[in-house]
Amino acid sequence: MNKAEYKNVFVFAEQREGKIQAVAIELLGKARSLADSLEEEVYAILLGGKDIEQNAQTLIAYGADKVILAMDKELENYTTESYAQAITQIVNQYKPSIILLGATTIGRDLGPRLSARLTTGLTADCTKLEISEEKELLMTRPAFGGNLMATIICSEHRPQMSTVRPGVMKAMIKDTSRKGEIISFEIKFNKDKFRVRIKETIKEKSNMIDISDAKVLVSGGRGVGTEKGFNFLKELATELNAEVAASRAMVDAGLVEHKRQVGQTGQTVRPDLYLAFGISGAIQHVAGMEESEFIVAINKDRYAPIMQIADLGIVGDCKKIIPALIDRLKSRTKE
């Protein structure tokens, strides 16, 4: 492989039902800084059925220099094979040096399939991306639970691929005056390989919340107790106009839906305020919330790991503190 042939930073601009996903916008911001240090360009790959052209301008406003736009009815709904074929053809023609994908259910399905097809490396869930002096992509990700960080390189293969979770990178400020080029690309599909048939796509309201968007999170762990404890937590969240989040233990116990799980196997969040009730602070959990602006931890155990990262720690029993806090907030409202 002649590495010198591979240039420019590509972002998979994931859209669902015509709506560009926030993570794609965040990735464009990162791609912009990577491309600037390489003195290369940012390309967005926009795939869809129809009526997605208007999104191309948005991608340019958020940092793309060029948008490769492929519209085909085979791309209207995501399937692994149609998207893998499309991106493979684009990669073979444009030879990108770097491809970034959001670590969404789609990105995590598509990324590894592509990496195997392109015979290149893929680094999952990167928290930091930079360019080395040798012009290589340095991909840093948490390993073995979160406290250990590993910087990964992909020296001999191109493109260098990484996925990044939603909320990890910061988007650029939208600049509608930015100019860019939109390139239409026609995909030649091998339809014999389309072997997964979508029968139904169902949206569930309970799944619509995205805790990574919340400014304030009221998060509960083992110390909150069972269902009764969580009902108090929900009430507190309502009082504070916050979203409820939880540690893995609570999700595994079936008290909270997975969508609200913070941590390595859940969401990465960085709210303005993170209230951790009865969460001991296992490293997997901390990996998902330590970037929060301000962390308040309430825990019985003075020496729980969460106290190490909290800006404010309260040693106490959540089962007493939460109801008392709700009462106080309610009496305040009356005043």
Binding site: T80, E81, T105, R108, D109, G111, P112, R113, S115, A116, T120, G121, L122, A124, D125, L138, A143, G145, N147, L148, M149, A150, T151, I152, I153, C154, S155, E156, H157, R195, V196, R197, K199, E200, T201, I202, E204, N207, V216, L240, A242, Q264, T265, A282, I283, Q284, F294, V296, I298, P305, I309, A310, L312, G313, I314, V315, D317, I321, L329, R332
Partner: protein, 260 residues
């Protein structure tokens, strides 16, 4: 029907603690377990065995001690267990791992390949889809439920961010299973007794038809350049006070942050 289930032995990361002073991991005494998503994948296979008399093979790659999870799989009811172990497999990233596993699967007969969605030690969720690509079969990831028509079609419920999808796929195919898909059965006493009489097949790299350049560290496009601990963030103020005073402190902080 023949099913191959890929499983992995992982450290029970929920048991890993941090040294509060140095910020390093305390790994001593951390038990090894069968990865939870993989265990649910195995349960799915065993349910198909119960209903359709499927033949279930478990496959893992790792050091000799990974045999423990294959014995556990025997005790849960699988028919055959294979351990890929060889120094030539060592240091593999996800792509090199998938090359080895796919190489082994190619020597077996299969209608369905099952993997867990992701392992709790790496959380990459890559090896399943990469195996599917090497085998040139379709994949369905994030499986919550699977129905089999007894002939060749699977109807699968897969999780998405905002709900779920129902998809249909014919065998052969690969699925990656969520740990929430089912509750894995316990080992039976009889199963445990019998597990120790069964043979775990030990395969070296010679047993699979994969170019050595695609295995282990040599076959890994990604390399760890450096690993480091993040160290301990300096802790803030900690108050050990009664409930009434605690409420006061929290309320004043909420006010200061303009939350209330």
């Amino acid at each position: 029907m023949k099913i191959v289930v890929c499983i992995k032995q992982v450290p029970d990361t929920t048991e890993v603690k941090l040294d509060p002073v140095t910020g390093t991991l305390i790994r001593d005494g951390v038990p090894s377990i069968m990865n939870p998503d993989d265990k649910s994948g195995l349960e799915l296979a065993l349910e198909l065995k119960d209903k359709f008399n499927a033949e279930v093979t478990v496959l893992t790659m790792g050091p000799m001690q990974a045999e423990a999870i294959l014995r556990e799989a025997f005790a849960m009811g699988v028919d055959r267990a294979i351990l890929l172990t060889d120094r030539r497999f060592a240091g593999a990233d996800t792509l090199a791992t998938s090359n080895a596993l796919a190489g082994a699967i190619k020597t077996l007969e299969y209608d369905l390949v099952i993997a867990g969605r992701q392992a709790i030690d790496g959380d990459t969720a890559q090896v399943g889809p990469q195996i599917a690509e090497h085998l040139d079969i379709p994949q369905v990831s994030y499986l919550q439920n699977l129905e089999y028509d007894g002939n060749k079609t699977f109807t699968i419920k897969k999780q998405t961010e905002d709900g779920y999808q129902i998809v249909e796929v014919d065998s052969p195919c690969l699925v990656t299973v969520l740990s929430t898909a089912n509750n894995p059965r316990y080992m039976t006493v009889k199963g445990i007794m019998e597990a120790y009489d069964k043979e775990v097949e030990i395969w070296s790299a010679d047993k699979i038809d994969v170019d050595e350049a695609k295995l282990g560290l040599k076959g890994s496009p990604t390399k760890v350049k450096k690993a480091f601990t993040k160290g301990v963030k300096s802790a803030g103020e900690v108050y050990e006070v009664d409930t009434e005073e605690a409420i006061g402190i929290i309320i004043s902080k909420l006010t200061e942050k303009f939350i209330i």
